[in-house]
């Protein structure tokens, strides 16, 4: 098992947001996490990334506990995050942003080869590597964010709303990239509003409602599930 989340409870101060959530992600899987705004998806992700402490429960990556470890050590476990809203460093160049992605990599040769790999996936970034990230368009920024996350050669990558605010054509590109990554053997947790699209490319999915997992199963099953259709597809 790549990721094991067991019975975690967490929240902000006195406000509990996540109630007894468990989740498993196997190696080389794409798992979708869907739910309404405010259902607790972002909170769950922040907890996995160490930005929020858990009040109870465990999180394990490849059998090692990572709950309540400082956020800056999480990346050593092979986890990378593509955050909601992209959160690039706008006054740094594309190249610098990518280098930040490999911040924990000490070997410059490995950084170089990771960079070549990312440039291979996103050739456009190579062309414009000296441009400031803040001057990019939304779609380009999304590509850069994914590229930055890949720079650490993660085993497990979490994408938080990668299609947010992007034109449909660009959204397609993003999802294509995900499939490429999947083929390269990266485990993916995909948090999406675009429920239909994400279920289409995922292996399995969890539905989060009000801080609790209410449904889970194969993505193809959920896609045809009437309740999901009604709640998230509005049909």
């Amino acid at each position: 098992m790549m990721v094991e989340v067991r019975n975690i409870e967490t929240g902000y101060g006195e406000l509990q947001v996540i109630h007894n959530v468990s989740m498993e992600i196997d190696r080389h899987e794409i798992v979708a996490l869907v739910g309404a705004n405010g259902a607790g998806k972002s909170t769950l992700i922040q907890t996995i990334c160490g930005l929020l402490p858990v009040s109870s429960g465990t999180i394990k990556i490849e059998g090692r506990h990572i709950e309540n470890t400082p956020a800056h050590t999480i990346i050593h476990h092979g986890i990378a995050l593509v955050p909601e809203g992209r959160r690039l460093f706008p006054y740094m160049t594309v190249l610098e942003n990518l280098e930040m992605g490999a911040y924990v990599e000490k070997d410059p040769k490995k950084v170089r080869s990771n960079l070549d790999w990312v440039f291979g996936i996103f050739p456009k970034l190579k062309e414009r590597q000296h441009q400031l990230a803040g001057t990019f368009s939304g779609g380009e920024q999304q590509m850069l964010t994914i590229g930055r996350a890949l720079m650490s050669r993660p085993k497990f990558i979490i994408l938080d709303e990668p299609s947010l605010g992007l034109a449909p054509v660009i959204v397609d590109d993003v999802f294509k990239v995900l499939q490429v990554l999947h083929k390269e053997g990266v485990t993916i947790l995909l948090v999406e509003q675009n429920v239909r699209k994400s279920l289409e490319i995922s292996d399995r999915a969890y539905v989060l409602e009000n801080g609790r997992v209410t449904m889970s199963g194969l993505a193809s099953d959920l896609l045809t599930n009437d309740e999901v259709k009604k709640a998230y597809l509005g049909l």
Binding site: E14, L15, A36, N37, G38, A39, G138, E161, L164, G165, L166, A167, P168, V171, Q193, N194, V195, R196, K197, E209, N210, K230, A231, L233, G234, L235
Partner: protein
């Protein structure tokens, strides 16, 4: 008054730097209507709202409320004219009790050196309407997100607005709570005659609540019509619901 719309915007445009957040949008909202505005995140819905309430000045275009041009006016002035709003990221007066939160809403609209008996009565009425009376002495920051949304709604309602702008007021609510909220909104629309404009993601809400829907994508209005028309509009399904 019959053929004059309550709120109307013409050619409304907002540029941030070189980017068009909102581009030449025309919308007419008739009094008593329940209008929905939908669109993908980043489409410019909240920017549109912020221009209606005066928080952002439009780059071009005009907004009329009850026939008066209100673009460029200060938010507190627009608020006093009868436009209430709630915020996408829920905002309350954190370290004050729920009662005080709502009382501020009343006092801000109609200033008396000491809040009058009528104002206190109005606050109590609104609190029971929004089912907050049992929690009226709780400090607002200790409430759940759902309850905070009610407080935000109560602050807006206590000022007797003619038009209420609701920015994602369902986000984070359970299905049961959502149903209750829809019912509540119906009630204030019919009983109190408040015109509603909602920005929503949850399609179910828009479908059940709104008579008329405007779809916005990349800052532009791409469709307008009844819920049924919108759902069957292939263009809308493309950009908003995701193509199949």
């Amino acid at each position: 008054m019959q053929n004059q719309s309550l709120l109307e915007c013409k050619g409304l445009t907002k540029r941030f730097g070189g980017v068009h957040a909102v581009k030449e949008v025309d919308i007419k909202i008739q009094a008593g209507m329940r209008m929905g505005i939908i669109g993908p995140n980043g489409a410019g819905k909240t920017t549109l709202f912020n221009m209606f309430t005066g928080e952002i000045k439009p780059s071009a275009g005009a907004i009329y409320f009850k026939g008066h041009a209100i673009h460029g006016m200060k938010p507190h002035f627009i608020s006093k004219m009868g436009i209430g709003r709630t915020f996408q990221i829920v905002r309350v007066f954190d370290e004050l009790s729920v009662y005080e939160n709502v009382l501020i809403g009343a006092v801000a609209k109609n200033f008396h050196f000491k809040p009058t008996r009528e104002q206190h009565d109005a606050v109590r009425r609104i609190l029971s309407l929004t089912k907050l009376d049992s929690q009226k002495d709780v400090m607002a920051k200790h409430l759940t997100v759902a309850k905070k949304k009610h407080v935000g709604l109560a602050i807006a309602l206590v000022g007797n607005p003619q038009l209420l702008l609701l920015d994602e007021c369902m986000a984070g609510l359970t299905f049961v709570e959502t149903d209750e909220m829809i019912e509540f909104l119906h009630k204030i629309n019919t009983d109190m005659g408040i015109t509603l404009v909602v920005v929503e993601h949850v399609m179910k809400v828009v479908m059940e609540l709104c008579e008329n829907i405007v779809v916005i994508a990349s800052g532009e209005k791409i469709a307008e019509g009844s819920p049924k028309d919108i759902v069957s509009n292939p263009h809308v399904v493309d950009v908003y619901l995701g193509e199949s």
